[in-house]
Subunit: 155 residues, 2 copies
């Protein structure tokens, strides 16, 4: 997260990359590559979408960014803010999400008993955020993601 982290890995802090990191830093939720591109382009108008994708890959690889696919066809990214893992609360109406901490424990043991060696897990909760719940039926309540269709889910 410090510029030094980048340098240590032989990565350069270019204008585009710096602005991408700043956009990520000031975004509380997860954003799609398109959204990030739009926001980065506000200050670096010539930035290309492929640069955004490439940097997101690089930063994910470097461990600074966390990529999640919630199942609607758009990968989302956010700054990795905590060391531990976390999960997501996703609004099916405006598409915004927030991090939540993991409400499940003992997974390794539970499935290890069946001979399954657990390496990780993901937990996503879908629903209506306070804003969207209140303004139900009046059209998307924001400059949310592109065409956010409710992802498939059980429950």
């Amino acid at each position: 997260m410090e510029p030094g982290d980048l340098e240590r890995q032989g990565l350069r802090l270019t204008r585009q990359r710096r602005e991408l990191l700043e956009v990520l830093r000031r975004s509380p939720g997860m954003l799609t590559a398109e959204e990030l591109h739009r926001r980065v382009a506000q200050r670096q108008p010539a930035v290309s979408l492929s640069t955004i994708y490439r940097n997101l890959d690089i930063l994910t690889e470097a461990g600074l960014v966390c990529k999640v696919e919630i199942g609607d066809g758009f990968a989302r990214y956010e700054l990795r803010r905590t060391e531990g893992h976390h999960h997501h609360l996703v609004c099916v109406r405006c598409g915004r999400s927030e991090s939540i901490h993991c409400p499940v424990t003992g997974i390794e043991e539970l499935f290890g008993r069946r001979g399954f060696q657990v390496t990780g897990h993901r937990f996503v909760v879908y629903g209506y955020c306070p804003a969207c719940r209140d303004s139900a039926g009046t059209g998307p309540a924001s400059d949310g993601p592109p065409g956010t269709r409710a992802p498939d889910r059980d429950g």
Copy 2:
């Protein structure tokens, strides 16, 4: 799941659709559209991939099939066998998965307290299945999914 269910919805039981349902019926895990296509094509050689996709959509819509995206770019499908919702245990090596029941409760209340109206959730556990754990390092242990790369995950 009964042929009658299809008829009731004005759907015809074509050769291709019947074979797709049979393939799904005898598959314990989730399969990608490609895999289903390959398997259906064993008995209905002329079946096209778009027919598979179209039928999967239709059957999902009809509630007979359940579609899940685990985050590696391939949507997976399986027969909806139980009424209640369920989750998945996914092998990051061979890509196969099995259903597990939900180990989390009280989600509605937990997030409802924050003003978030929960409509559903998804829980996916990643790791090595017994077969892949034992044969580690000897190449994929099966006719698993296409290029199964480990999905991104926390944990």
